[in-house]
């Protein structure tokens, strides 16, 4: 198959999956937070509110494009564009799985593998600050300006511990290419960087995760848009699609950081334990269990609607579980399952933290970055370097 | 299929450097003057990398890397100075910052 055609196909699939994930991530977040707070969450549009993302998209698209009269127009329009572009571009170097055959042509489940892939993601994500800083400045509003100022200071500060936390697992794998980083962690969980002999990277995993929260401006570090102090922070003056762009950028950054966590520390698409012990059957087991539970609840329905929806869901789950047993599909699907499971777990952590922790105060935030996170990351890098050199 | 001549890269570098010099001489705001210096450093880096390509050596890259590090240090101190100047004199116009003691 033609290389260009294949690349276009892969790009289209990745873009479609990414955008759908972004839309549904928001639904998942609202649902999870609702359940944490003992509410139901979105429920009206579609079964269990499953069509809510679609409704949100339609609402945002059809809203009036409003440009306030006092803004710097060029910068005001540039900022959301910059934010969303820089957030979406980094997906292009992330590997989702092993080599597969598409109509007989071998290809990797990755758009492209740069041998400076990790630096590429860092570079692109560091450009994302401009979206927020410029949006805050161009809005010509004191709350926006404060939000933009806070975010640029915060993101510069947290980029340091983030980069240093990335450096120490790199000492173990000796490469900057994301595909080779995952390949270096082949095997079960004890070969992943987080537990890898001789220098387990648990500390740098935690530092990376915390700094990742700050880089994506999520709770408890969402100072740039702190509602109770700054109205809505840097995007106070934005509405309709421009607001949606900022929103999408935030979720895309979350996905990127989760993918990075999975690749750097959790072994990317490598299974939890080796296939010799039957890890290939884990996805089937999980989907079968999910399907059976859904069918059971469908037979004893709490609501009238559940009598139809839950058995249908259960059958779909069972079919997906059966798909994982087909030898032809296994090669592609099982790595994808493990990768998605790890990314999903990290994303769930993001949402969980949002439902649990209060927001930091600004001085606490800065002090934490410079006086705790940075020294810890540095000490971890030194120890890792020493251990790797002596081993 | 052949690429552009190496001379084009050097000419581009010269153009950018000249624009940096022009900005340095022409502008009044101390921040923009500082940015013109960064533009000049970037232009020089481009010619370092181009020469590195020509000589098939990595030394030019290392030198450009050092330039970047120095630029980062310079930016940190320079911007701190700018902030201090602005705090004390409430102007960013270099022509108005003309007395030794304030």
């Amino acid at each position: 198959m033609n290389f260009f055609l294949l690349s276009v196909l892969k790009a289209a699939v990745v873009a479609f999956v990414l955008l759908t994930t972004l839309a549904y991530l928001q639904w998942v977040e609202r649902k999870v937070i609702a359940h944490i707070q003992v509410r139901m969450g979105p429920y009206r549009v579609g079964p269990h509110g499953l069509l809510q993302p679609l409704a949100d998209v339609i609402k945002l698209i059809t809203k009036e494009e409003l440009i306030p009269p006092h803004v710097n127009k060029f910068m005001y329009l540039l900022a959301p564009f910059l934010a969303v572009t820089m957030a979406l571009v980094s997906i292009s170097v992330i590997p989702f799985g092993t080599e597969i055959h598409v109509f007989g042509t071998p290809t990797w489940m990755q758009l492209t593998d740069l041998n400076v892939g990790l630096l590429f993601i860092l570079a692109v994500s560091s450009m994302g600050v401009y979206g927020i800083a410029l949006g805050g400045w161009a809005s010509n509003n004191k709350y926006s300006l404060l939000g933009g100022l806070r975010s640029s200071a915060q993101m510069i500060s947290y980029e340091l511990p983030l980069s240093i936390a990335i450096a120490s697992p790199l000492l173990l794998v000796n490469t900057l290419s994301l595909r080779e980083i995952v390949q270096a962690q082949t095997g079960s969980i004890i070969h992943w960087n987080i537990l890898r002999w001789p220098a387990p990277q648990i500390v740098s995993f935690l530092v990376f995760l915390i700094a990742g929260f700050a880089e994506t401006n999520r709770v408890p570090f969402d100072l740039p848009e702190a509602e109770n102090e700054l109205v809505a922070g840097f995007h106070t003056e934005y509405s309709s699609m421009k607001f949606a762009a900022f929103f999408m950028a935030e979720y895309a950054n979350m996905v990127t950081v989760s993918c990075m966590t999975a690749i750097l520390f959790l072994g990317g698409w490598q299974p939890l334990f080796s296939p010799a012990w039957g890890s290939n059957f884990v996805p089937t087991l999980i989907f079968t269990a999910g399907g059976l539970i859904a069918i059971y609840h469908g037979l004893n329905p709490a609501r009238k609607l559940d009598r139809i929806t839950l058995p249908v869901t259960g059958v779909v789950f069972l079919l997906v579980g059966a798909l994982f047993l087909v030898p032809a599909a296994q090669n592609a699907l099982i790595p994808l399952f493990w990768f998605a499971a790890k990314v999903g777990a990290v994303l769930f952590l993001y949402i969980w933290v949002r439902g649990t922790l209060p927001r930091f105060r600004y001085d606490q935030l800065m002090r934490f970055a410079w006086k705790v996170l940075f020294p810890v990351a540095l000490a971890n890098l030194l120890v890792t370097g020493l251990v790797v050199a002596l081993w | 299929m052949s690429g552009p001549p190496l001379a084009w890269y050097l000419i581009l570098s010269a153009v950018l450097f000249a624009l940096g010099v022009a900005g340095f001489l022409f502008r009044k705001s101390i921040i923009t003057i500082f940015m013109s210096i960064e533009l000049m450093l970037n232009a020089v880096n481009l010619s370092f990398v181009a020469f590195s390509y020509q000589l098939k050596q990595v030394n030019g890259h290392v030198f450009a890397f050092f330039v970047m590090v120095v630029a980062a240090a310079e930016a940190a101190v320079g911007l701190a100075i700018i902030v201090t100047v602005f705090k004390n004199r409430e102007t960013l116009n270099v022509d108005e910052v003309d007395s030794m003691k304030y």
């Binding site: 710097n72 740069l114 400076v116 630096l119 860092l122 570079a123 560091s126 450009m127 401009y130 800083a133 410029l134 805050g136 100022l149 640029s152 993101m155 510069i156 980029e159 900057l176 | 299929m1 052949s2 690429g3 552009p4 001549p5 190496l6 001379a7 890269y9 000419i11 581009l12 010269a14 950018l16 000249a18 624009l19 022009a22 001489l25 921040i31 923009t32 940015m35 013109s36 960064e38 970037n42 481009l46 990398v49 181009a50 590195s52 390509y53 098939k56 990595v58 290392v62 450009a64 890397f65 050092f66 970047m68 240090a73 101190v77 701190a80 100075i81 700018i82 201090t84 602005f86 004390n88």
Partner: protein
């Protein structure tokens, strides 16, 4: 293909650089400078300097220029006033600049005739491995000196940014 890519990004770089000089508002200048740095990073990639291209974006565009934007926003610097510019500079500056550039181009063309072309992929030594090796063997002393320089810069910035001065 190489020529087209070079021309596109060279033109972006020059236009943005002109914008840096011409724009009156510091934020506009800063964003234009980020444009210059981004297109220079692409040119570095064309020259086979992949590590340097990424370092360019991370260090220059992602750290230094963010610091500039931050300071401009912090000081709330407005547009520069156009008064007080020297008439001689306004009249003679531009032609002299063109003349200088023409001279420079002439001499560069003379010393580097069109035979030395740049082919993407012909020089592959610009990887992180090679640069790291050069940095930690041949250039170890300069590297260590740079770290001291950065330390001095940090201390200097902290001292300058203190409240009482």
């Amino acid at each position: 293909m190489d020529v087209i890519l070079f021309l596109i990004f060279a033109i972006i770089a020059v236009v943005c650089a002109v914008n840096v000089v011409v724009q009156t508002h510091p934020i506009a200048s800063a964003i234009s400078l980020v444009g210059v740095m981004g297109s220079l990073a692409v040119l570095y990639l064309l020259l086979g300097a992949e590590f340097l291209a990424m370092a360019q974006i991370i260090v220059y565009a992602g750290a230094i220029m963010v610091l500039f934007v931050f300071v401009i926003m912090l000081l709330n610097a407005g547009a520069e006033s156009k008064r007080g510019r020297s008439l001689v500079a306004q009249l003679l500056g531009f032609p002299l600049l063109i003349a200088l550039l023409a001279l420079a181009s002439y001499f560069i063309q003379r010393y580097y005739p069109g035979t030395a072309t740049v082919q993407f992929g012909a020089f592959k030594a610009g990887t992180a491995q090679n640069i790291g090796r050069a940095l930690f063997t041949q250039y170890l002393l300069p590297f260590e000196v740079t770290s001291i320089l950065i330390l001095i810069a940090i201390v200097g910035a902290v001292v300058l940014a203190r409240k009482e001065l």
